[in-house]
Amino acid sequence: MSSVSPPPVDEPGGTPELRPVRLPRRWLLLALAVLVVVVLLAMVTGPAGLPLKSVLVEIVNQIPGVELDGGLSERDAAVLWKLRAPRIVLGMLVGGMLAIAGAGYQGVFRNPLADPYLLGVAAGAGLGATFAIVSGGNRVILPLAAFVGGIAGVAATYALGRSVGGRSTTSLILAGVAVAAFLTAVQTYVNQRNVDSLREVYGWILGRLLTAGWSEVLTVLPYIAISAGVLLAHRRLLDVLSVGHDEAGTLGVPAARVRLLVVLAATLGTAAAVAVSGLIGFVGIVVPHIVRMLAGTSYRIVLPLSALVGAAFLVSADLAARTMVSPGELPVGVVTAFIGAPFFTLVLRASRRVW
């Protein structure tokens, strides 16, 4: 695919062009193409089968000033725009967010196993959601409770990590393990005392993309936009951090501050995603690794591509979740692990070690 290689850089002295790392255009186009195909597939598939042509016409109709007749009944149009589209967009946002948050954590902790649920986010959000559900209150507070719980989990991890090990990465990760264990124990206790709501809590923990119109999308959009923006802006600094915090410091990077900013951004986005989707595992680990193995290890490649691939991955997993046992539904978290784990193993076997 050399035909799409970028034009030569202007070089002083006319020496052969130097090409610093950049996002390879062919991978970008491929990821975009896959995302578009997956989204269209998800749009047409469901109990009410909608013809692809009509869906395409409906999408074009969204452009202001365009009025075409795709032949969809009012009911089908409502299915498309009030049921499927919000769910697909939410899947893209959550999937993309979990993937770049995972890449961000892996970058600052220089640890391939770091994932968005590290540092007590998942356990805190799970506890918050559990409280919201067992208190029998309004469902509207569930995302908020999960969000607050997730942030509180990370804050506790940070405080504990700083108090025992200063700025060391290992002590922070270990503190995350301790906080997660503690919060999970509290959650289990609360569940034991409220057996009647166990099923609902369990369903939330397994992760699902349930939407009521566009409200969930609008709720998470600002958090995810900020978080993704901050993470993407740090792509070069994450590359510098790959030489380690000490060396990065001698290269002029305030490593502790970069780590804090990236962790805050990744946590904010993760907590927002978890708040509306429950705990969807595996995306944050699998997606960045697949991108690394296929397209390159620089965060200038890993971050943007992970966002696209994560979005496509979760939308397809959700498509499988709602069609495999139709008319019922599987929790999408089960599907991400079920598809993701074997696929990940295949890619891992097929490619060289990148860590």
Binding site: V9, D10, E11, P12, G13, T15, L18, R19, P20, V21, A233, H234, R236, L237, D239, V240, S242, V243, G244, D246, E247, G249, T250, L251, G252, V253, P254, R292, G296, T297, S298, R300, R353, V354, W355
Partner: protein
């Protein structure tokens, strides 16, 4: 003119005083080498100058205190060749050299044409041109050491710190790297401070030697003044003979057993 001035510097690591009240001056454009037995505090002193560890006392370069500087500002002043530099997975030599431009980029910025030009020139200087697209993981020890040096030089800092720059190199590559540093020092007026294990080499390449023992300065001066049988026997517990090569250099020859000419063994 005074380049690096280290005054009464101390460093504690895990409650242990590793560098204790060190004072030394390194004139601009000269090369000072720290020698001393394992654990003497050579690396830690370099790390203090680089700002990687907290220290007491004062460290100045060109009469500017380094301690209060922001990391960006300091990285334009001090460049470091670490003892065992990390090789980031998947990074090419060119991108690795460009890491050295970080202190000149805005916080969230990327490299400009000017930064590329700096890297471009260094690829020639350090004979890395043909390796530019290769991953640093695939380089030999000598090649990678040149890449690390290129990264440090890309910082365009007047003070260059080298922590055991030759520890993973064979004799020939070690000599090449040190000769290269010396040429660059002369050419660019760099002030160089290094830590070296090999005493003969240390004497050959430094204007000034500082013998560190238990975190303090045990002796300093020219090679002939520091590399003496008495001092090395006392502080290294080593049996050595000091020879002078025809060009006036000091050669430290380790001896075995009760060879004549050595008064005593480990002290």
């Amino acid at each position: 003119m005074n380049g690096l001035v280290v005054s009464q510097v101390g460093v504690s690591l895990m409650g242990k005083l590793v560098v204790d009240d060190v004072t030394l001056t390194v004139p601009v454009g000269s090369w000072t080498t720290l020698v001393g037995p394992n654990g003497a505090g050579k690396s830690t002193l370099l790390r203090a100058v680089a700002g990687s560890v907290r220290h007491s006392g004062a460290i100045e370069f060109g009469e500017k205190p380094l301690a209060g500087m922001r990391s960006r500002e300091r990285a334009r002043m001090v460049a470091v060749v670490p003892q065992e530099a990390t090789r980031p997975a998947g990074m090419t030599v060119l991108d690795y050299v460009l890491l050295g431009r970080t202190p000149y980029l805005p916080y969230l910025g990327v490299e400009s044409a000017e930064d590329l030009a700096v890297a471009d020139e260094l690829l020639d200087t350090l004979e890395l041109r043909d390796l530019a697209e290769r991953p640093v993981m695939s380089l030999s020890g000598g090649e990678f050491q040149r890449a690390v040096l290129a990264r440090a030089l890309a910082q365009q800092a007047p003070l260059l710190l080298l922590d055991e720059p030759t520890s993973s190199l064979d004799l020939g590559h070690a000599q090449q790297v040190l000769e290269l540093v010396d040429e660059l020092r002369a050419e660019r007026g760099l002030t160089v401070v290094s830590a070296l294990h090999d005493l003969t080499t240390a004497g050959q390449f430094a204007d000034h030697l500082v013998l560190l023992v238990d975190g303090g300065v045990a002796a300093q001066g020219k090679a002939q003044e520091v590399l003496t049988e008495e001092l090395l026997s006392a502080h290294y517990g080593a049996r050595v003979r000091i020879l002078t090569d025809p060009e006036g250099g000091v050669v430290v020859v380790p001896l075995r057993g009760n060879s004549e000419g050595v008064s005593r063994g480990a002290g």
